[in-house]
C-alpha cells in the first residue's frame, strides 16, 4: 500500500483554506440578505453592501472552489493512481502563490477599494492589487493543472495499455478544462485591467473585456462542478453499498463537459450589444449540448444508487430509495445534491434559452439559480467528499457523523428556503445586485414575503457553515482512530474489456476544443481589432 500522507497534508492545507474563507463568505451572505430589506436601518450602507457582495463572490467563486478543487485533486490523484505527487515542492509553491494572491486581493476588497464584484465589470476600476492578486491565484492554480497532467502521463508510462482510473481521468479533464478556460480571464486581467488600473493606458475596450470574460465565465462553473461529479461517480456508489453503473458513461460525460463547456460563453452575453445574433445562436446550441452530460450523469448516478439500494434489500419501484444508507454523509450529500440539481437544471434551461433569457436576465432569478446549483448541488458535494476523505487524510474518525448529517440537512433546507423565494423575486422583476429596492410600491410589495424568507434561509446556511467547521476541526483532535484509511473507489457494474484509446487520453479532445474555440471565439474577438472603437484601444498596452 502506498503512503498518501504527503498528498494528505497538501490536501488538508488546501481544503482548510477553502473552508475557512467559505465560512467568512457565509457570514457576509447572511449580512447581505438582512441588509437588503429595511429591517435594521443601522445596517444600511451601499459602501458596505457592495464591498461585502464583492468579497462574498470572490471568496465563494474563486477561493473556496480553487482551493477545494486543488486539494481534493491532489488527494484523488495520489490515491486513485497509488502514486507519489509528481513534484511536491512545486505543488506547495502553487499553494502558496494562490494564498499570496488571495491575501493581496483581500486588502483592497476589505477596505472598499475593489467593490467591482467578482466579475470585475470594467470600466469600474479597482485598486491594482485586486487584479494582481486575482492573477496570482489563477497562475498558482495552473501549477495544479500541470501536476495533474504530469501525474496522469507518468502513470500511463508506467502502466502501458491499462485504463486510467475514472477518478483520475475526470480530475485531469478538469485540470485541462480549467487551464483552457482561465486563459480568457487571464488575457483580460494581464493585458487590459492591470495596465489600465496602473495608469499605463487611459481606456479599456469593455466589449473585448466582456467577451474575454465570457470565455471563462461559463466553463468556470464546470470547473467547480467537476469534483462534485467525480465524487458522485467514483466514491458515492461504493459508499452506498453498490457499484458504479457504467465507467464508460462517466468518461463520456467528462469528455463532453470538457469539449462543450468552453466555447459556449456567449449565453452570458445574450443581452449585450457588440456581438451579432448569429454568434449568440451558435453558442446557444453548444449550451444545450452541455446539458447532455449532466442528464447522463443524473441517470448513471441514480442508477448506481438504485443498484446499491437493491443490494441492501430494497424492493419495489421506490423501495430502494428508503434502503439507501441515509446516515452516511457522502450518500446523504449525493441524494440532496441530485434533488437540487433537478430544480436548478430547469432554471438553467430557461437561462440558456436564446429568447426566454430576456425576461430573467440580470434579475434575482439568475442569482437564485446559481446559488441553487453551485452553492447547493456543487458545494454540498464538497462537504460530502470532505466528510469522506477527512478520516482518511487525518487518520482520525469523523468527530460526529450525526452532526455531519445535521449540517448537510441544514444546508439543503437553508438553500431551498433561500433560493426558491429568490427565484420568485427575480421573475417579478427585481434586479440583481441591489442593496435596497427604492422602486414603485406595486413592484416592491410582491417581494416582501420572499425577502423575509431569504433571511431565514441565510441564517440556516450560516449555522450550517459553522457546523461544518466544527465537525472537521474536532475530527483532528478525535481520540478514536480511523481504521480504514483506504479511499475505496467504486467498481463498475459493467466490466470494461478494452477502453477505446479516445476515452483513455486527451490529445484528440484538446485539438477539437482548439478548433471549436477558433470557430466560436475567433472572429468575435478579432472584430474588436477591426472595429472603429473611438480611441479605446483594444489592448491596454
Amino acid at each position: 500500500m502506498n503512503d498518501h500522507s504527503k498528498a494528505a497534508s497538501l490536501g488538508l492545507a488546501n481544503i482548510w483554506v477553502a473552508f475557512i474563507f467559505f465560512a467568512v463568505a457565509a457570514l457576509l451572505g447572511f449580512y447581505q440578505v438582512v441588509e437588503r430589506i429595511d429591517l435594521v436601518p443601522a445596517l444600511k450602507s451601499p459602501e458596505l453592501y457592495f464591498g461585502s457582495v464583492s468579497t462574498h463572490g470572490v471568496l465563494m467563486g474563486f477561493v473556496l472552489t480553487t482551493f477545494f478543487i486543488t486539494g481534493y485533486g491532489y488527494y484523488t490523484a495520489s490515491t486513485s493512481l497509488k502514486q507519489e505527487l509528481w513534484n511536491r515542492p512545486l505543488a506547495w509553491f502553487g499553494f502558496l502563490l494562490c494564498l499570496a494572491g488571495v491575501l493581496l486581493a483581500a486588502v483592497p476588497l476589505l477596505t472598499g477599494n475593489a467593490s467591482v464584484l467578482y466579475t470585475f465589470y470594467p470600466p469600474l476600476m479597482a485598486h491594482p492589487a485586486f487584479y494582481i492578486g486575482a492573477a496570482l491565484l489563477v497562475v498558482g492554480s495552473w501549477v495544479w493543472c500541470l501536476e495533474m497532467v504530469m501525474m496522469m502521463a507518468v502513470w500511463k508510462k508506467a502502466h502501458p495499455g491499462e485504463t486510467v482510473p475514472l477518478a483520475m481521468y475526470g480530475t485531469t479533464a478538469n485540470a485541462i478544462l480549467w487551464f483552457i478556460t482561465s486563459l480568457g480571464v487571464a488575457l483580460e486581467v494581464l493585458f487590459q485591467l492591470i495596465p489600465w488600473s496602473l495608469g499605463l493606458s487611459d481606456t479599456v475596450d469593455v466589449g473585448l473585456a466582456r467577451t474575454l470574460f465570457s470565455w471563462t465565465l461559463h466553463a468556470i462553473v464546470y470547473f467547480w462542478l467537476f469534483p462534485a461529479y467525480i465524487a458522485l461517480y467514483t466514491l458515492v456508489p461504493r459508499a452506498a453499498g453498490g457499484k458504479l453503473f457504467s465507467d464508460q458513461m462517466g468518461r463520456f460525460a467528462f469528455i463532453m463537459l470538457l469539449v462543450f463547456s468552453v466555447p459556449i460563453g456567449f449565453h452570458h452575453l445574450y443581452m449585450d450589444p457588440f456581438q451579432a445574433a448569429g454568434w449568440k445562436f451558435l453558442h446557444m446550441t453548444g449550451t444545450f449540448m452541455v446539458a447532455v452530460p449532466t442528464l447522463i450523469t443524473g441517470f448513471t448516478v441514480i442508477a448506481s444508487l438504485e443498484v446499491a439500494g437493491r443490494l441492501r434489500g430494497g424492493k419495489g419501484l421506490f423501495g430502494w430509495i428508503g434502503a439507501l444508507p441515509w446516515g452516511n454523509p457522502i450518500v446523504l450529500a449525493a441524494c440532496l445534491a441530485m434533488l437540487m440539481l433537478i430544480f436548478g437544471g430547469f432554471g438553467g434551461m430557461i437561462n440558456a434559452s436564446y429568447s426566454m433569457n430576456t425576461m430573467v436576465h440580470n434579475t434575482q432569478w439568475v442569482t437564485g439559480h446559481f446559488h441553487l446549483i453551485f452553492a447547493g448541488t456543487t458545494v454540498i458535494m464538497y462537504f460530502g467528499a470532505a466528510y469522506y476523505i477527512w478520516p482518511k487524510m487525518t487518520g482520525k474518525a469523523l468527530s460526529s457523523v450525526k452532526l455531519a448529517n445535521t449540517q448537510l440537512w441544514l444546508w439543503f433546507i437553508g438553500m431551498l428556503v433561500l433560493t426558491l423565494p429568490w427565484h420568485q423575486i427575480g421573475i417579478t422583476g427585481q434586479p440583481r445586485r441591489v442593496s435596497s429596492t427604492p422602486y414603485d410600491e406595486s413592484l416592491v410589495q410582491a417581494w416582501h414575503t420572499s425577502e423575509m424568507l431569504m433571511i431565514v434561509g441565510g441564517a440556516i446556511l450560516f449555522l450550517s457553515a459553522l457546523l461544518l467547521i466544527t465537525v472537521l476541526f474536532r475530527t483532528h483532535g478525535n481520540s478514536q482512530a480511523e481504521t480504514n484509511r483506504e479511499v475505496e473507489y467504486a467498481e463498475s457494474l459493467h466490466s470494461v474489456q478494452r477502453m477505446p484509446h479516445l476515452m483513455n487520453s486527451f490529445g484528440f479532445w484538446v485539438g477539437l476544443i482548439v478548433v471549436y474555440m477558433i470557430a466560436s471565439y475567433g472572429y468575435p474577438i478579432l472584430q474588436f481589432f477591426l472595429l472603429d472603437t473611438h480611441g479605446t484601444v483594444p489592448w491596454s498596452i
Partner: protein
C-alpha cells in the same frame, strides 16, 4: 442501423437515455431556432460603436434630441442615455401596440435596462449603442430599472415608462 453508442455503452437502458437526452437538447435548441427564424425573435445584438465620452457632441444623443420620435410609419424610436444614476429623459411615453425601437448609449460605465414583465431588456455598454425592438401590448405605468451594477448609487437608478392607449399614436 447499428446504434453508434454501442461502442461505448453496452447497457440498453442507458443507450436509450443518451438518445432521449440528445433529442431533448435538439428539440429545445430547435424550437428556439424556429422562433428566431420564424418570429424574428433575437436578443438585442447591435454591433455599433460610439464614443461614450462625447455623447453630447453627437447628433443622435445630444440632450435636445433624446426622447420619443414618431417615425411616421406607425412606429416610434426612443433615444435614451444611461448615466450614473439615471435614464434620460426621465419619463418616456409610448403608445401601446406600436413597434418601438429603443436606442440607448451609456455616458460612463456599464448599465442594464429592463422593464419588468416585458421583454424590453438590454445591457448598455460604454463604447457601443444598444438597440431593442419591441412592442408593449398593454397600457399602464412601467419602470425602467437599471439591472447591472454601476456603482454605489445603482439601486436608485430607475425611471418611468408610460404606455399610452393605442389611440395616442401619431400625437407625440
Amino acid at each position: 442501423m447499428r446504434d453508434p453508442f454501442k461502442a461505448i455503452c453496452d447497457d440498453d437502458l442507458e443507450r436509450r437515455w443518451i438518445w432521449i437526452s440528445l433529442i431533448m437538447a435538439f428539440v429545445m435548441g430547435g424550437l428556439l431556432g424556429l422562433y428566431a427564424v420564424g418570429a424574428n425573435l433575437h436578443p438585442p445584438s447591435n454591433v455599433e460603436t460610439i464614443d461614450s465620452s462625447r455623447l453630447h457632441l453627437t447628433e443622435e444623443f445630444a440632450e435636445d434630441n433624446l426622447g420619443v420620435r414618431d417615425n411616421g410609419d406607425g412606429s416610434v424610436t426612443v433615444t435614451m442615455v444611461a448615466a450614473r444614476y439615471g435614464f434620460y429623459p426621465p419619463v418616456v411615453e409610448v403608445p401601446a401596440n406600436t413597434p418601438v425601437k429603443f436606442r440607448v448609449a451609456s455616458a460612463d460605465v456599464l448599465h442594464g435596462f429592463h422593464v419588468p414583465f416585458t421583454n424590453a431588456a438590454t445591457m448598455i455598454v460604454p463604447g457601443y449603442i444598444s438597440e431593442i425592438n419591441t412592442l408593449f401590448p398593454r397600457e399602464g405605468e412601467y419602470s425602467f430599472l437599471c439591472n447591472e451594477y454601476c456603482g454605489l448609487g445603482h439601486d436608485s437608478m430607475w425611471s418611468r415608462l408610460i404606455v399610452l392607449p393605442e389611440s395616442a399614436r401619431g400625437e407625440s
